[in-house]
Amino acid sequence: MNDAFAGLSAEKLQEMLHQMLLIRSFEESAEQLYFQGMIHGTMHLSIGQEGSAVGACAALRAEDYILSTHRGHGHCIAKGARAGQMMAEFFGKETGYCRGRGGSMHMADVDTGNLGANGIVAGGVPMAAGVGLSIQMQQQDRVALVFFGDGAANEGAFHESLNLAAIWNLPVIYFCENNQYAMSMSIFKASKVENLSERAAAYGIPGVTVDGNDAIEVYRVTREAVERARNGGGPTLVEAKTYRWKGHSKSDKQRYRTKEEVKEWQERDPVARLAQRLLEAGLLDEEALARVQVEVEEEIAAAIEFAKESPEPDPATILEGVYA
C-alpha cells in the first residue's frame, strides 16, 4: 500500500467508505422521517462532513473515548454505534441508546466509547480534559478525542480546557470541525486567524489544519495526534475544514450563504471523493461499490423498522435515571 492511503489497508478503507455511506443514508433518512412527522424535535445534520467524522474515528481504537457535538450522528456511527439503536433514539423509543430520553442531541453509545453528543456548543470540551486526566491518572492506554465546531472555538470553555490539557500534558485530541458557520455566523467574521489551528500556539501545543473532506488526510493527521497523545506527548488541536450542506437545524432559511457556495462545496463531496479514489486505485470495483450501497440501504431500512416496532418508554419509568 502506498502512502497515498496513509498506510490504511484496503479492508479498512472499504470499511471507512461503508461508514460514510451509512452516515449519509442515516441522515437523509432521518430528515425524510422528520418531514413525514415520524420524528419530532429538531436535528442537526452533518451531511457533507462525513470525511472528518470517519477519518478521525478511524485513527482511534475501540477503547478510546470520543465526546461529540449536536451535529454528532456521524461521530456516533464512525465510533461503532448501531444504526438501529440510533434510529430508535430518534423515534424516542425505549430501545434507543438513551432509552428515548436524549434524542438526537444526546446520542451516546458508552460501550463503543462515545460519551455523548452535546446540546451545548463547547459543552464537551471542558469534560474532555477530565476524561484525559482520568486516563492519565489511571495509566490507561487510551486517548480522548473531542469533536467541536468552529463556533465552539470562540467559547471561553475552549480556552480553559486547551490550556489545562496543555499544562497537564493530557492525552486529548481537540478536533475542530470547521464547517464555516456557527449557525449563521461565518468563521471569517467570527475570527481574525486564517486557520483556527493557529490558536494552538497560544497553548504551546501542536496545531494542524487539514482538508476535512479528505477522509484519508483527516485520518493521517489525527493518527499523528493520537500517537502523540498515546506516547505522552500531550494534546493536539486539529482543524478539519469542511462544510455542512444542510441548514444549521430545521428552522434555517439559509439567508447567510449563497447557493453557489453550497454547490461549490458539494462538488467536494467527501463520500464521492473516497469512493472515486478507491475505484481509481483498484481497491474497489463498481460492482463492490454497488453492493456496499445496497448493504447500507438495507441496514437503514432495518434500523427504521426496528425503531418503528420498538416500544415507547413506560410512563411509569419517567423518574428513572435522574440519580444513580
Binding site: 473515548y65 460519551l115 451545548i120 480534559a129 486526566l133 482520568s134 486516563i135 470553555a157 480553559e160 440519580y323
Partner: protein
C-alpha cells in the same frame, strides 16, 4: 473516641481518609496544593499525597467543573474545590447542563460521582462577590445533591458520604464555621445524606435552620430557654434530596415554625421548606403562620454594620421565635 476538631480540620480529615482509602479520589481546584486552599482546608495534603492527586489549577472554574465531570464519568472520584461559592457562576454550564443531566440524558447508562466543595457566606467583609450563599440554585436542578453541614462532626461524616455517593454533590461549607470547634469521632464514618437531624429538642417552636444559622439558632434556643420557651432546632443537613419527615414531625409537635437561612429570602430554600410543610400533615397543626427569617434581598454590603444587618443574627432569631410563640392561636 472523639476529640475536638475545627470544622476545617474535620473536612481535611475526611478528605485525608478518603484519599488514603480510595486511589480514585483526588483534589482539584485553585490553590489547593502548597497554598493549602484559600481557607487552609487542604493544608498539608499535597505533602502527603503529591501534586498528582492534589492538583492546583489555573483560574479556570469552567474547566475545574469540566475536569470533575469528565473524570467522574470515566472512573475517578474527584473532589473539586471552587474557591468562593460566588465563582461557581463561572462553572454553571458544566454543573447544571452536563454533570447534573448526563445520567438522565444518556438513559441511565453513566454516573457522575464527584463532590464539589465550596465555601459560602457573608461575615468576612469580603463584599458582594465573595460572600454569596447560592445553594438554592442547585436545589432547583434535578440530578444534583446539595449538602450543607453545620458542625465539624457532620462536615466530616457528610463529606465522606458525599464522596461515596454515585452522584454529583454540591457540598456547601461556611467560612465562619471553619474555625468553630466540636467533638468529631475518629476514623472513617459516614453521616447519611438526606437525613435531617434534630439538633435540640423542644416543645414550643420549631426552628429549621441551615449551615451557620444552625449554630445561631442553637444559641438563640439557649436564650429562649431562659424565658421559658423551648425551641426545637432541626437541621436538614442535606437540602436535596430533602428528608422532610423530621421537619414535619417537629412542626406537628410544636405547631409553630421559623425557617432560618442566610441566603436572600426571595427564591431561597426557606420557601421550599415552607411549601413542603404547608402541603404536609403539619398544616393542620399550625397554630401560627409559617415564618421565614433570611438574608435581605440585597447584594452583601461591605460596611461592617450593614453586612451584619443583611444576615440573620442570634437576636433576630430570638425575637422572631419569641413573637411566633406569643402569637395568639
Amino acid at each position: 473516641m472523639s476529640r475536638e476538631l475545627t470544622y476545617a480540620e474535620a473536612i481535611r480529615e475526611a478528605i485525608d481518609l478518603a484519599m488514603a482509602r480510595d486511589p480514585r479520589v483526588f483534589l482539584v481546584g485553585e490553590d489547593v496544593g502548597v497554598y493549602g486552599g484559600a481557607f487552609g482546608v487542604t493544608d498539608g495534603l499535597i505533602q502527603k499525597y503529591g501534586a498528582e492527586r492534589v492538583r492546583d489549577t489555573p483560574i479556570s472554574e469552567a474547566a475545574i467543573a469540566g475536569v470533575a465531570t469528565g473524570a467522574a464519568l470515566t472512573g475517578m472520584r474527584p473532589i473539586a474545590e471552587i474557591q468562593f461559592m460566588d465563582f461557581i457562576t463561572l462553572s454553571m454550564e458544566q454543573l447544571v447542563l452536563q454533570a447534573a443531566k448526563l445520567r438522565f440524558m444518556l438513559g441511565g447508562k453513566v454516573s457522575v460521582p464527584f463532590v464539589l466543595r465550596t465555601p459560602a457566606g457573608a461575615g468576612t467583609g469580603a463584599a458582594a462577590q465573595h460572600s454569596e450563599s447560592l445553594e438554592n440554585w442547585f436545589v432547583h436542578v434535578p440530578g444534583l445533591k446539595v449538602v450543607m453541614p453545620s458542625t465539624p462532626a457532620d462536615a466530616k461524616g457528610l463529606l465522606l458520604a458525599s464522596i461515596e455517593d454515585p452522584n454529583p454533590v454540591i457540598f456547601v461549607e461556611h467560612k465562619l464555621l471553619y474555625r468553630t470547634k466540636g467533638a468529631v469521632p475518629e476514623g472513617y464514618y459516614t453521616t447519611p445524606l438526606a437525613c435531617s437531624e434534630v439538633k435540640r429538642a423542644g416543645r414550643d417552636v420549631t426552628i429549621i435552620a441551615t449551615s451557620l444559622m444552625v449554630a445561631r439558632a442553637l444559641e438563640a434556643a439557649g436564650q429562649l430557654a431562659t424565658e421559658g420557651i423551648e425551641a426545637e432546632v432541626v437541621d436538614p443537613r442535606t437540602l436535596k434530596p430533602l428528608d422532610a419527615e423530621p421537619l414535619i414531625a417537629s412542626v406537628v409537635k410544636t405547631g409553630r415554625v421559623l425557617i432560618v437561612h442566610e441566603a436572600c429570602k426571595t427564591g431561597g430554600f426557606g420557601g421550599e421548606v415552607a411549601a413542603v410543610l404547608a402541603e404536609s400533615a403539619a398544616f393542620d397543626y399550625l397554630d401560627a403562620p409559617i415564618r421565614r427569617l433570611a438574608g435581605l434581598d440585597i447584594p452583601v454590603p461591605y460596611n461592617r454594620d450593614l453586612e451584619r444587618r443583611m444576615v440573620p443574627q442570634v437576636e433576630d432569631i430570638v425575637d422572631a421565635a419569641r413573637r411566633l410563640v406569643r402569637e395568639a392561636r
